[in-house]
Symmetry: C2
Subunit: 271 residues, 2 copies
């Protein structure tokens, strides 16, 4: 999958970004990673999320990704700076709540943002509010359980409708006319959200803008400018990696450890 | 691992080829695959081996391999033609018993070849004998159990010595002065083999010639000449692939099946 677009999220939320990327760039290959062993990301500390994001990015790059889309607002807030520092030659596109277009389009002067607590607590969101929240009122709202419901496939169930009605009511009472979806899982419930919010509230999903940014960065990338990567050697087995590690050590004199968070069942690496 | 040299074998035998490739091409990355779930290849029917070889090649190409070394005589005999037909733009290097140099160097006119039954039964070996066996006598010899002993790390044990002494005795009695190692596992037992065969028998390991062939093909490859591959989309999860498959179907409308012999625990693909 050389030259693929790598996309990851805690689960299937990032697929709402993936589909926009695919629609805009139909000739590009993609690798999507859902970190469903660690979902939900929302309640996890940023340092843990940065660790997962780095492991996933490492895997995606080894699989051939030329650009990484962090299709998760929580992970973007927690890990984007770490990722850019760790992989300075790799272009990254992260998610942030689309506060700017909401502020530009509001007529009521009241904007609502629906996201996870970690997103609201992060520096990325605070910067957005500082930058764009001067002349309008920005109300934040969490919706605990919505990520899990979307993961469970309840994108249009009565349970999801009830949860969303409760979460959206305070924002609607405050007079919002723009609702920013600040988590990539939420667009999959957008039919219900639009139904509850009514026709006077615009629902803003940043995914199309993210896809355009991916296209821009790919156009700007100069692959000739990159230094050749150092030689890397991977040993894979359809049997036991622990056994292969000891065999490689015995037969070739290379000490290598079964490693890699996600490939641990079939990969060994030596630098 | 874009542009890596892919190398595979039923087990660790191909590492005897890998080390020569690495020594000759130290700046190249490599991906080694040991199909230890299906070892030994020797007793398996060619059609089954061709199936494994195709699956492994597919994986190696997806992981970024630009050239494939079938570092297994048995698999080369059974699958090389299928592989070349299936992947016409990918360069392949296979193994064949080094009958030619043995015939060129023999003074006694008697050459021995040590390999698996499948290798001796294959068309590749028969062609070699037809081509180079006119003026010399070529004796074949199998050595059941040697692959398993090398896999178990018994490259210099009393058990291995006893087995090899039994296998080599008929060839030595026939007056060979060239012994072709026709299985990539055997070079790891070459110290014992040389010890049993004595100083008048040359032991021929084709691995260095295979590494030179890899270098030649890499030099001759013209990447600009290849058509761009069709877009491919992979979905990976650290959780349940069956669940992700149904989620992708539900959320995006793509039917995809957990598939791939080796990645089945964490990959889904759609074409």
């Amino acid at each position: 999958m050389c030259g693929a677009i790598g996309v990851f999220d805690s689960g299937v939320g990032g697929l709402s970004v993936w589909r926009e990327v695919r629609a805009l760039l139909p000739d590009e290959s993609t690798i999507y990673f859902a970190d469903q062993a660690h979902i939900p990301y929302g309640p996890r500390p940023p340092v843990e999320l940065a660790h997962y994001a780095t492991s996933i990015t490492n895997l995606l790059i080894e699989l051939g990704a030329k650009i990484i889309v962090v299709a998760c607002n929580t992970a973007s807030g927690a890990a984007l700076e770490t990722l850019r520092a760790t992989y300075p030659t790799v272009p990254f596109v992260g998610m942030e709540p689309a506060v700017k277009p909401a502020v530009e389009h509001t007529r009521s002067g009241v904007v609502g943002v629906l996201a996870t607590p970690t997103t609201f607590e992060g520096v990325l969101f605070r910067r957005l509010v500082d930058r764009f929240g001067k002349d309008v009122t920005i109300h934040t709202q969490v919706c605990p359980g919505l990520v899990e419901l979307v993961e469970a496939g309840h994108t249009a169930s009565a349970e999801t409708r009830e949860l969303l009605a409760g979460c959206l009511a305070p924002l609607l009472d405050l007079g919002i006319d723009q609702l920013v979806l600040g988590c990539t899982h939420y667009p999959f419930a957008s039919t219900i959200i639009a139904d509850i919010a009514g026709p006077h509230v615009s629902i803003i999903d940043p995914a199309p803008a993210v896809a355009r940014q991916v296209k821009r960065l790919l156009g700007a990338a100069d692959p000739t400018n990159r230094p050749p990567p150092p030689a890397l050697h991977a040993f894979l087995t359809s049997g036991s990696p622990t056994r292969l590690a000891s065999q490689v050590d015995q037969l070739l004199g290379y000490e290598c450890q079964p490693e890699g968070v996600f490939w641990r069942d079939n990969v060994l690496r030596i630098g």
